[in-house]
Chain length 290, copies 2
């Protein structure tokens, strides 16, 4: 059978366009949507990624401030910078880019990003708010998956969705987003036994485990829609997902490619979240916590 | 076949004993563990429930302050009381008892319970911390389910667990607790289609949907362990769960009764959480958020 390719490129373009239009509207109201990315590593690919966010933000009319604290930044310095950005009214979105220097407690630092500026859903409070249905930003990668499903009009309500991987960054928030959209959601992982027990009859299979070739054609059915969240860099520098695409193609109904799938939508969503955060900040402040 | 009855009574007794012993140890160190329950309703069964917590606390050597603000308490008054209790060092655990007066925003109020005193896991931050693996109290009902499984040595790791119900109070936190224990976890609900699609082959089925008779013998298999979280009061005043027990008995491997199952363990866990909160408060304060 022919497997549909769920490219994210057209959708990413649409989202960028929406972000640009909303940024323009905000500009006209005197608000200049802006994003701050805090980075503290020498890792080349991380710097490349952050620069790609910066370029995308500029193209959308969104300010982007990169705060490079160097690979030996202390937790104290990082905390102080995050507190300042949290309090700074001209910054609407904050990303704390990983990896961070060894010994720095990431979990303590992400707790310093105010939920209303937490455009990549890194603060546990954002995740908790998502779980109870309060306004919050989901991690952009998790939202990217549901946006791709929606873009291709793949029904979610009443369907079974299996998420492979239980990370706080993708698996868990994605499970919440799919539940909210009325799917029956199964989260399985490296310790839950044979994958095919769960994936074989699922309508939607999302793989977010960080392991090359984890899912192959034997795990899925002709009815399966497969979304590949994996981003694994091979020795030759090429990027592959968690799905053995050659094996799944010809078996499943649809598959999102890597690269060009989830990842391309993710950056666009960071921009959209930034303008959403800027718009909300411009509304009459709602009294939080009574 | 004969279905094992997973009574919670012995376990509840054990947990109360543990709470009492730990409370005594804390007393000897000059710490008097104490719980505060805020109530704002005329509902008789709610008052009865709160008094049962008070009696259990007193029997365990835990102080229990009931703050009855009346059925017409405003959100402002409730917020002010919760803020005071949050700041009061002699109070280690806080429960905001529902139902609350109409118009009061429960979600804004629970956000005022500091996570370290949030012994019934009501604050979304507690749920978020649970999701990312940071120290937090789970809602007592959710923890009760995993304690019953552990008490009866029912394996969870590598097994499939199906949770029926996606509430923020039981379904979602329970899914997190089961994932943490290495189960493959499926959450299904009223809009996810026929139950048996998910329950029929599950090793563990937990029903927390608040609907009498929702799960019956046709939904489960001889291998199923069924935990009934439902507490539905019938017209004649009797208490029944979400499981049609007569129908499931004789089919499933095991079933927790209602009453005498999950509910009896829940109150005991509120006491244990209170002494745990008191013990943590006595430790050298760890610098949170750097």
């Amino acid at each position: 059978m022919s497997t549909q390719s769920l490219s994210g490129k057209e959708l990413a373009g649409e989202i960028r366009r929406r972000a640009r239009e909303q940024a323009r509207d905000l500009e006209q109201g005197g608000i200049h949507p802006a994003l701050a990315v805090v980075i503290a590593t020498d890792d080349g690919s991380t710097h490349w990624y952050v620069r790609s966010i910066e370029r995308a933000a500029e193209a959308a009319g969104i300010g982007c401030r990169i705060i490079d604290l160097g690979h030996d930044a202390t937790e104290q310095v990082l905390a102080s910078v995050l507190r300042d950005l949290g309090a700074e009214p001209s910054v609407h979105g904050i990303i704390l880019q990983t990896p961070l220097p060894a010994g720095v407690r990431t979990d303590a630092l992400v707790g310093l990003i105010p939920p209303e500026k937490d455009i990549d859903g890194a603060n546990p409070l954002s995740l908790g708010r998502l779980a109870v249905g309060q306004p919050a930003f989901a991690p952009a990668t998790a939202r990217s998956v549901v946006e791709i499903l929606e873009h291709y009009r793949i029904p979610v309500a009443g369907r079974s969705a299996v998420v492979v991987g239980r990370s706080a960054v993708v698996g868990k928030p994605l499970a919440l987003l799919l539940m909210e959209r009325d799917a029956a959601v199964t989260v399985c992982h490296s310790r839950s036994g044979p994958l095919e027990r769960y994936t074989a009859e699922a309508d939607i299979v999302v793989v977010a485990a960080g392991r090359t070739g984890l899912l192959n054609g034997s795990h899925v059915s002709p009815a399966s829609v497969v979304i590949d969240v994996g981003t694994n860099v091979l020795a030759d520098g090429s990027l592959v997902g968690d799905v053995d695409a050659d094996s799944v193609r010809g078996v499943a109904a649809a598959l999102s490619p890597v690269p060009g799938g989830v990842g391309s939508v993710t950056t666009a969503l960071l921009l959209l979240h930034t303008v959403e955060a800027a718009r909300r900040s411009s509304l009459v402040p709602v009294l939080e916590n009574a």
